[in-house]
Symmetry: C2
Subunit: 435 residues, 2 copies
Amino acid sequence: MNIDAHSAGSELTADEAGARFLRDFAALSMIGRSAGGGVDREAGTIADHESRAWWAGWLEANGFDVRMDRIGNVFGLRTFVPGAPYVLLGSHLDSQPLAGRFDGAYGVLAAGHAARTVAGRVAMGDITPAVNVAVVDWFNEEGSRFSPSMMGSSVATGKLALEEALAITDATGTTVADALKPDATFETPLEVANYAEIHIEQGRILEDSGKTIGLVDGTWAASKYLVRVHGDQAHTGATIMADRHDALYGAALTVVAARELTDRVTAGKLHTAVSTMQVLPNSPVTIARFAEFNLDLRSDDEDVLEEANRLLQEEFARIEKTARVTIERTLTHEWGLRSYTPAGVALATTAADAAGLPASRILTVAGHDSTNMKDVVPTIMLFIPSIEGISHNEKEDSTDADAMAGVTMLAEVARRLVQGELWNGERYVLPTTEG
Amino acid sequence: MNIDAHSAGSELTADEAGARFLRDFAALSMIGRSAGGGVDREAGTIADHESRAWWAGWLEANGFDVRMDRIGNVFGLRTFVPGAPYVLLGSHLDSQPLAGRFDGAYGVLAAGHAARTVAGRVAMGDITPAVNVAVVDWFNEEGSRFSPSMMGSSVATGKLALEEALAITDATGTTVADALKPDATFETPLEVANYAEIHIEQGRILEDSGKTIGLVDGTWAASKYLVRVHGDQAHTGATIMADRHDALYGAALTVVAARELTDRVTAGKLHTAVSTMQVLPNSPVTIARFAEFNLDLRSDDEDVLEEANRLLQEEFARIEKTARVTIERTLTHEWGLRSYTPAGVALATTAADAAGLPASRILTVAGHDSTNMKDVVPTIMLFIPSIEGISHNEKEDSTDADAMAGVTMLAEVARRLVQGELWNGERYVLPTTEG
C-alpha cells in the first residue's frame, strides 16, 4: 500500500495536495476491489479490516494519534489545545456488496487530508485553533451485512445500545462482536464540539445544475417497514388455485404496489423500494408459507409521505384479500424532514465562496453518519457530484476535479471549525470512548 | 422404533393387517416429526437417514433382502422364482420442509405391507407367482434440498446420469454424494417387470366425489421455467425512480403475471406457481441487481398450456419494458399429457372391484416416481383421498379407513402383478443396480 509519509507542517500547493489525495484514494480503492472496478467491503469482512488497517497506517504516518472505540469506529486525533474538545470529520470505509469506490471512503480520506492540511497550518501559525481536530471511520454505515445501518455512529450518539449492537448477527450467525473484536483504546473520552462530513451525492442534482458542492440543509422524510407475509404451504401443482394462500404472491403484489405508489403522487416527490426478499420454505414444488422483506417510502414533502403511508395501508388490506394471506408490518424507522443547523449551512456557504466553488443547497435522501451526529452537535454535511447519480453500484463515479474540490472545501470548513466559528461552547462525549 | 417382527407366511385378517399398518405408520411418522404434527425429512438429512434406517430394519424383520443402489434407493426383495424379474412397489420417504406424514412415506410403507401380504400368500400356496416382488424407497423425490426432484427414479430410469446427480449440491455446497454415501450392494442387477405406486392425492377430487381409490390414467401437461431477472444495483433512496433497473420489481411483476394467467384461461384448467426467490445483493439499501426463481405452468389441456406459454412470453416482454430489466428464461422441464398404460388402469379397475373399493379414474398434477417408471415398464399409479386437498403442509391428512383401504388395494394389485397379469415378458434392468 502506498502510504504517504509526508510530515505534517509543510505547506503544499493545491495541485500537489490534490495529486496526493488522488494517489491515496487510488491505493485505498484497491482494497476489496471488485472485478467491475468497484469495491466489496461489507462491514467486518476481511476487506473491511484491510481498509481499516490501511487507514490506521495512513493516520500514523501523518501524525495522528490512532484510537478505536468500543463499537469499532477508528479515530485519528490531532491535539492543538489540550483540554479543548475536537472538531470531528469523517465518514465510513465499509461498502455495500459490489459498490462504488466513493461511498463513503471518499469522505474518510477527504477528512484525513483536510485535517492534515489544517494541522499543517496550525503548526505554521497560520491558524489559531480554538479546538482540536479528529477524523473517524464509522463502523458499518451500510448495514448490508449487519442491520441496522449507521451502526457505529448510532452507538456513538447513544441511539443504539452498545451491547445490543455487539450481539447483532449476520445471515450466518456471526455476531458484530466476533466480526470486529473491538478494543477501547481511549485514555480519555473523546469530547466533540462539531462534526463535518463530505460524501458523494448519490443523485443527479449537482450534476444537472452544474454545481461542485452541495450544502446539505436537511434530510428527506422516510418511513421504513419490515413486512412479513404469512401464507400456508401447499403443492405448486396439485393444489387448486382457489385453495392457495401464497405468501410469495402476497409479497409480489406488495412490491408492485409499493412501486406504483410513486405514480399516484406528484411526480418525483416519492421514492419507494423493496430490496430484500426471504421466502420459506423456498422449495421449487412448495408454495411459500412465509415471505419477509423491507419496504421504504421517502419524500421531501411530509404530506406526500403521509398520503403514501395511507395508500400503502389500503394496499395491504387489498392484498390480504387478493392473496388470502395476512400481512404483518412493523414500522422500523420513521422520521420527518430534518434540518442541519442553519449556522452550519451558513458557514459552509461562506467557505464555498471563499474557496471559489459553485455550491447550492440540497437535501439528502440517503441517511449518513452525519444524520446521527447532527442530533448531538452542530454539524455540516457536504456533497460532491455523482456522475449520472449512480449509487450502490460498481459504476459509481465522480471526476478527479470534483473529488479534489471537495477536499479543498472540507479543509476550508475544517479551518473555520478549528477556529471555533461553529462551536457553541458545549461538548458531546462519545459514550463509546469511555472506559 | 416399533418394528413389526411378524414372520412372513401367516395369514392376518383385514382388521389385523390394517391395525399393523397404522401402528407402523405412526412409528415411521415420528421420525423427523415437526412441531406442527407433520414431518421434516429433506433428502439426505439426518431425519431422512433415520427413516431409511428404520425402513431397512422393517424390511429385514419382515423377511426382505435389503439392498441399496448407487443413487441411494433402498430396496427390499422377496424372491419366489429365481431368475424371474421383479414387480417393484414403492414411493419415497423424503419430504418437503415442514410437510405432511403421507407424501410419499405412506406409499413406501403400503408397498412393504402389500408385498408382505403377497409373499405370505405365496408361501401358503394361495398364489402361484410368475415373477418376484420388490419394494423401494426412491431417494430424493421431493427435490427441495437437491434439485431436480424425482432424482432416485430419474437415475434408475436412465434419465439423469449417475455422476451428474452425485455432484449436485445443496445451498450450502454439500454434494448428493456427501449427503448420501451410497454403496451398490446388488450382487446381480435388479430386473423389473412392472411398477406400482400408491400416493395421497394432493387434491380434492376423490374427497369431493366420495371415492376411495384414484386410478391414475395420465399426467397433466407442464412447462417449468428457471427465470433470471437482470437489473442494476442502485440506492434504495437516493436513486430517482426513473433511473432504476430493479430486478426484484421485475421479478414481482412476473410472479403476479404468472398468477393472473390462471384468470385468462378457462377456470380450473391452468395451475401456475412461483415458489422460490433468490435476490442479489439482498441488502436493505441497495436495489437488487439480480433475481432468480422458478415458474411453473400446468394444465390438463395441452391447448390451454400452449396459450398460457404464449401469454407468458408477452408478459415477459411487457415486464422488461416496465421494470427496465432483462429477463432470461430457461425452459427446464416440459411434457405433454402422458398416459399410464391402459392395461394397467384396467387391471387396477378390476382389482378395486374385487376389493369392493369405490374407485374412479383421475389425472395426476404432481410428478411421482411412477411418472419416470411408466416410461420403462408397464406401471400402475393409485391415489387415496387427501383431506381438503392439503399438500406439502404439516396439516396434510387422510383417514385411517382410507389409508388401510389403500394398502388392501395395493396388495390386490400386487397379487395380480406377481401372477404376471401385466407382465409383457420384457425386463428393465435398473442401471443403478449394476456394478
